[in-house]
């Protein structure tokens, strides 16, 4: 007669399972449809969480398809923490694993961008340096300097026109995406994360900085990938985004 929480969750997450014995109405009769309130609450609240977490995916697929996918996803990957703001971390890989979505190869990266924007929105605050502080360094010292970047900063590399797809689905009158690879930088100058397209090898340079490389060492990595790497243009994106929060010239 006793209903364990394992029994309860099993039946709650699978409508094909019978309602556990021991759950009743006020007359001691089997709970029946009353149990469906919990089945429904969990599915609806997690589905709504997925819609608000991935609005562009939802728009690309349509509400009904998104509802269906969320219904599968929430059973395969229920939240692992009460911090719903970070729910959906496995959604990009999940989308890429769906056979019937294989023709929409970009969906995984679009979901990664939406996750990254959400993480940037909630990332810790950090005060940017004055850009002049960099200009004041002699050239040799500049190359040996490491840049501390704000916790909100993120870089995504994509074989798809990732930024253009995002823009086309979030901005009225944005141009239609052209077939090209795009790397995206996310900065958060104040409270709203801003995604921008990175120039060639800019993603390599910033990723190297994030891994602890000096400006010079990161430049070598970037130039090795693409000779057209433009330090000035890439650095300007970081500085305009308030993304550089410290300079470290030691070791």
């Amino acid at each position: 007669m006793s209903v364990s929480q394992a029994d309860f969750t099993r039946a709650m997450m699978d409508a094909g399972q019978p309602v556990p014995d021991g759950l009743t109405d006020h007359l001691g009769q089997p709970a029946g449809r009353r149990f469906s309130v919990y089945r429904n609450n969990v599915a609806v609240s997690l589905t709504e969480a997925m819609h608000s977490a991935f609005p562009v995916i939802s728009k690309l697929l349509g509400k009904q398809n998104m509802d269906g996918l969320a219904g599968i996803y929430l059973r395969r990957h229920p939240p692992s923490s009460p911090l719903m703001m970070f729910y959906g971390a496995e959604f990009p890989t999940f989308l890429e694993g769906m056979e019937q979505l294989k023709h929409l190869g970009y969906l995984g990266d679009v979901a990664r961008l939406e996750l990254a924007l959400r993480r940037a929105y909630h990332a810790a605050d950090a005060a940017p340096i004055a850009p002049e502080a960099l200009g004041a360094l002699p050239p040799d010292a500049l190359l040996d300097t490491r840049l501390e970047l704000a916790p909100a900063v993120q870089v995504l590399r994509s074989p798809w026109p990732l930024h253009a797809i995002w823009r086309y689905n979030t901005e009225d009158g944005a141009p239609k995406p052209a077939a090209q690879a795009e790397d995206v930088l996310i900065t958060r100058p104040e409270f709203d994360p801003i995604p921008q397209v990175l120039p060639p090898a800019g993603a390599v340079w910033i990723s190297a900085l994030m891994a602890g490389a000096t400006i010079g060492a990161a430049m070598e990595q970037a130039a090795a990938e693409n000779e057209a790497f433009d330090l000035g243009a890439t650095l300007a994106l970081l500085l305009q985004g308030g993304a550089v929060t410290g300079l470290n010239s030691k070791g």
């Binding site: 929480q5 969750t9 109405d25 919990y38 009460p82 605050d125």
Partner: protein, 284 residues
């Protein structure tokens, strides 16, 4: 209003559940609304707009932190990471009140984002008291525990809910949060007298009252099944039950919860004004 010392208890006045879309209007003039409640879990990111808004509001209003994710009624141990996050939030915000639910939401390290029911037995009583002791020790303050809305009963239960809550309060020293809409919903769904529930409730332990809107469905057997949806105005019979409660309890902080289909600020403020009227007409 800007005296921080005035914000260490909730006033016996209306408050609302804070929604970010109302930030500008609340800071411009909050009308009948005298305090604000937040869901703890929405303010556990590293920074950004949510925490900036919260810091700003906490300088102007008494704040209540309402946890929805600790799973106090869970069979397993409390999540140590989540306890630490609650401690951190309660520490820097220093809210006027902290509350959680008589419910569970986590099982086997999965969080189900809903308040799930539990049987009222000696064993569950002991477990819940242990969890509340642990929480109160961790955050270094007394908490309020909220009564749930019920859609079904457990055959194994041996305690009535008001007595169960009273015993938890007696053993742990915690206060209680009385959700009058939940009482109304449960009373309708399980066919007991809502006034009888209030009569049996330890009203001297009540530090806060909740009100919210509910929806009506049916149980598949031709009887109504009320759903605690927080998506509309408080129903008239729930306002009447509030009057009944306040006449017995005296003035209390009264919160309007509206979490789904959140209305424009004037609609929410009007609900708070109605609560102010209810507080004003408490018989002397």
């Amino acid at each position: 209003m800007l005296d921080a010392a005035a914000h260490d208890t909730l006033p016996a006045a209306p408050g609302v559940g804070y929604k970010p879309q109302h930030f500008a209007q609340i800071t411009a003039g909050s009308g009948a609304v005298k305090w604000l409640e937040i869901h703890a879990e929405n303010y556990m990111g590293g920074g950004g707009r949510p925490l900036a808004q919260l810091r700003h509001l906490a300088e102007r209003f008494a704040m209540s932190v309402h946890g929805v994710g600790l799973s106090i009624g869970g069979e397993g141990p409390l999540d140590a990471d989540h306890l630490a996050r609650l401690k951190h939030l309660a520490g820097w915000l220093n809210p006027a009140s902290f509350s959680e639910h008589l419910a569970w939401s986590t099982h086997d390290s999965h969080f189900y984002n809903d308040l799930l029911p539990l049987p009222y037995t000696d064993a569950s009583l002991q477990r819940i008291c242990d969890h509340i002791d642990q929480l109160q020790e961790t955050i270094g303050r007394r908490m309020l525990l909220e009564n749930p809305s019920s859609y079904l009963a457990f055959a194994e239960s041996t305690w009535a809910e008001p007595e169960f809550l009273a015993e938890i309060s007696r053993r742990t020293g915690c206060g209680l949060l009385l959700d009058v809409n939940n009482v109304f919903v449960s009373a309708s769904n399980l066919e007991f007298s809502p006034q009888g529930y209030i009569d049996a409730f330890p009203l001297d332990k009540v530090g806060e009252i909740h009100l919210g809107g509910h929806d009506e469905d049916d149980d598949g057997q031709g009887r109504p099944l009320l759903i605690d949806s927080h998506g509309r105005e408080v129903a008239d019979p729930v306002w009447a039950l509030l009057d009944y409660t306040l006449a017995k309890s005296g003035p209390r902080p009264v919160l309007i919860e509206w979490d789904n289909d959140v209305p424009d600020w004037p609609v929410l403020e009007a609900e708070a004004a109605r609560a102010a009227t209810a507080l004003e007409r408490i018989p002397a």
